[in-house]
Amino acid sequence: MKNILIMALLALPLAAQDSFDFKTLDKLGTNSKNHTNITLDGDMLKLASGFLGAAGGKDATDVKNLVDGLKGIYIRSWEFRRKGLYNSADLEPLRSYLKQAKWTRVVESKDEDDLSEIYLLPQSGGKLGGVAIVAAEATQVTVVYINGSLRPEDLAKLSGNMGIPDIGSQLGNLKNAEKNTEKHKEED
């Protein structure tokens, strides 16, 4: 019993590390002129994937396949009027979370004032358990955090190498789906 309690106590910090608290990045947006905040947890992803699946089309199927293994997508992006309006030290909570042993930084690209980092969370069977992108530019900071199982090919698709997913046509499909839904409602 005592051992179980000790193990449970030891497991608590590990469980806490499973998800990142995005509120710790709130300071970054203090002086921003625009911000984008997207939080899609498992339920919302299922809902979105089902809706896109109903819209039909190859791209919709690709998006659905990509999203099916995911637990969450979190995006935080801030735009600033000019240089020096944010403190890059405010990204430290995320960096220290990603510096945990299980995350691997695969890309670090610095060009003048711009810094991009890509972190991957390797999983067994050649799969990924997550992807994180930290892009700190002179007047924009973007954090992308994808939690869940995805294949390296999905990452290639996401980067647009294979032209998939085509967001523009997806938005078109979405509009068609909305029109169809409205038509059905009128018929009802």
Partner: protein, 122 residues
């Protein structure tokens, strides 16, 4: 003339005080009238009692509840479906925007890497 007036008065008083017997069917008429009045006042009460008795029956309550549910359930389902559709549409928009931002960031990183590798090659 002055002597005749008291006589007339006396006669009038006697007439007024004379015992007059009721007609033989008077009691029957009074009883009948009383019964009719009672029946008239009881009639609405008995109707109310019938209404109360109906509402006290569980079957009537069950039917009323059934009718209310039958009217409410389709409205509730339709409202729920409409709300879920709205949520799904909003979630899809956010998902596509999230994928678009991710793609843009990956492409920017790739371009930066290409630029750096070109500079290194030179």
């Amino acid at each position: 003339m002055a002597f005749e007036e008291p006589v007339e008065f006396e006669k009038a008083v006697k007439r007024a005080l004379r015992q007059e017997l009721p007609p033989p069917d008077f009691a029957a008429k009074v009883l009948a009238r009383a019964a009719a009045l009672e029946a008239a006042t009881r009639a609405p009460q008995s109707g109310k009692m019938i209404v109360l008795a109906v509402w006290r029956k569980p079957a009537v309550w069950a039917i009323a509840a059934g009718i209310t549910l039958a009217a409410l359930i389709p409205t509730g389902i339709s409202e729920y479906r409409h709300r879920r559709e709205h949520q799904a549409r909003e979630a899809s928009r956010q998902l596509l925007l999230a994928l678009d931002i991710t793609r843009l960031q990956l492409q920017k990183t790739k371009q930066r890497l290409q630029k750096v590798s070109k500079q290194n090659a030179l």
